[in-house]
Amino acid sequence: MTKASTASDRTPSPTLADRPATGKVSVRNVTKVYDPEGAHVVALDGFSMEMEAGDFVAIVGPSGCGKSTLMNILAGFDTLSTGEVYLDDQLLAGPGTKPLPGSDRVVVFQQGALFPWMTVLQNVTYGLMKKGELTREEADAKGLEFLERSGNLAKIASSYPTQLSSGMQRRVEIIRALINDPKILLLDEPFRAMDTVNKNRMHQHLLRIYQATRKTIMFITHDLEEALFLADRVIVMTTRPGTMKLDIAVDLPRPRHHALMASDAYLAMKQQAVLAVREEAKRAFDRGEREMA
């Protein structure tokens, strides 16, 4: 058991978990307008996408393309103006519905949102305690088990987040999300502020988690290479108003290692994607110039 878990700590588990029964997302023709009476900023314009349960989808786009808006609507932090969002065929958000966050859609934030005044264990068990199904002891036991399973982290259970490296903080934050068994994991540029070495490590870590759990993952990033390496599908968005411009299927085998990034298959895919994105960017740029003129 211990041996197996140490081994799985280093290499992704060889088999990909089966598709889960829940975690299907359907975004239908969603538009979001900020300040409709005044500035009338269109953040999303008729955006649609489907995600099967167990999909790993990356959303790529420059800042201001509406990718955070999309995530906020899914997470229940914000309303939409028109359109609907369904999670497992149940209406999650529509025009006029109250935004409702929940532990079935947990977000891992760009800046990190572990509560600095709580220990790692208190952070990890926070969702369990709020759900109220477990006693303090049971929640702690489960928290320790999750920490231990995710690379022997039980030893840092009583540390405060600020005592940990940023990579470690992210791992704890992902554990804090996973322990609630969410249907979908929303990752909002979680590795943005990291150096290359740590970022690579976190990629392996995330891929390992995906192999093992097959959670539906929406991964927001502005880094195309990261998106291609991690996801099964990469959706490229354009600047305001945010619409989907490209939907790239990534046919690279799993489990993935960083060695993959040097393979011909990956490079060919990257070249294609880069060209497509550049083409799109150029078109957007030209449009912009015409608007200016």
Binding site: G102, V106, V107, F115, M118, G127, K130, T162, Q163, N180
Partner: protein, 277 residues
């Protein structure tokens, strides 16, 4: 074989150096004081008590003007001042912290209260003295009220700033995990604002002492502010300085106590600062 490790020795050297600098500052001040009173050819300065005569009076079992560390009166004055400062301070905490939290957390409360506070805050404590005397039965409550005001504003404002500085993502994260409004208050708002609240309490403690002295000079029969003013009227100049120095001491001690409590309460914050340094 009990050799002190190099970092430890360096740390202790630094501590010694710090104490030396502190001592130099204090000694320098006393020398400057002595020199300007004794040697400067300025009449106004020559009237002032020099440090030596203050210390002699302060530590005399039989003081010329009735106030020294050996007289019961001295402690009666300290007691009255401390009592008023603490009463005002705790009143400010009890009212100011909840108000600041609500203002920071709920926009509607902020809209109600912020312009009112903004208008009242710049009014100096001394300007409140006449109204306070008219408003309250007895001088005691009036002095406490005046002392309370500045401490209250400091507490409220710092609490408000502390709550507003909590990153939006913490609230969002809490809502992801199904935290209710009440949970958010206890799990996010209060602990998140705690460092700033304690900064506010330290400022409030200091502010309580300086407005207290002002209030006591005008409207009290006891207290350190009172003896400073009375000694001035009675031309007992060393006693003025005794009153001032005592105010400085009790103010410093009380602020230190607040700081100490803050450190004990916020282990996580200390560690954060430790990491940064």
């Amino acid at each position: 074989m009990n050799v002190t490790s190099l970092p430890a020795r360096r740390a202790s050297n630094r501590a010694v150096e710090r104490y030396l600098l502190t001592a130099t500052g204090l000694v320098g001040f006393v020398v400057l004081w002595y020199a300007s009173v004794k040697w400067l050819p300025i009449d106004a300065f020559n009237r002032l008590p020099d440090p030596l005569s203050v210390v002699v009076e302060w530590t005399s079992p039989d003081p010329d003007y009735g106030i020294s560390i050996f007289t019961a009166d001295y402690y009666t004055h300290i007691f009255y001042s401390t009592y008023r400062a603490l009463a005002a301070f705790f009143l400010a905490v009890i009212l100011g912290v909840p108000l600041g939290i609500m203002m920071g957390w709920k926009k509607s409360v902020r809209s109600y209260a912020s312009s009112l506070l903004g208008l009242l805050r710049p009014v100096p404590p001394l300007a409140w003295v006449p109204i306070a005397i008219l408003m309250f039965p007895g001088v005691e409550l009036a002095v406490i009220f005046v002392t309370f005001l500045v401490a209250f504003f400091a507490t409220t404002m710092n609490t408000l700033v502390g709550v507003k500085a909590i990153p939006e993502d913490y609230f969002r994260a809490a809502s992801c995990f199904g935290a209710s409004d009440r949970d958010v208050l206890w799990d996010i708002v209060i602990p998140g604002a705690m460092p700033s609240i304690f900064t506010g309490l330290q400022i409030a403690m200091g502010a309580a002492w300086f407005s207290l002295a002002a209030g006591e000079m005008i409207a009290a029969q006891y207290g350190l502010g009172f003896i400073i003013w009375e000694a001035y009227n009675l031309i007992q100049y060393p006693t003025i300085v005794i009153g001032m120095a005592t105010l400085g001491l009790v103010g410093y001690v009380s602020s230190s106590i607040v700081r100490w409590f803050g450190k004990r309460l916020m282990v996580w914050h200390e560690q954060k600062l430790g990491m940064a340094g």
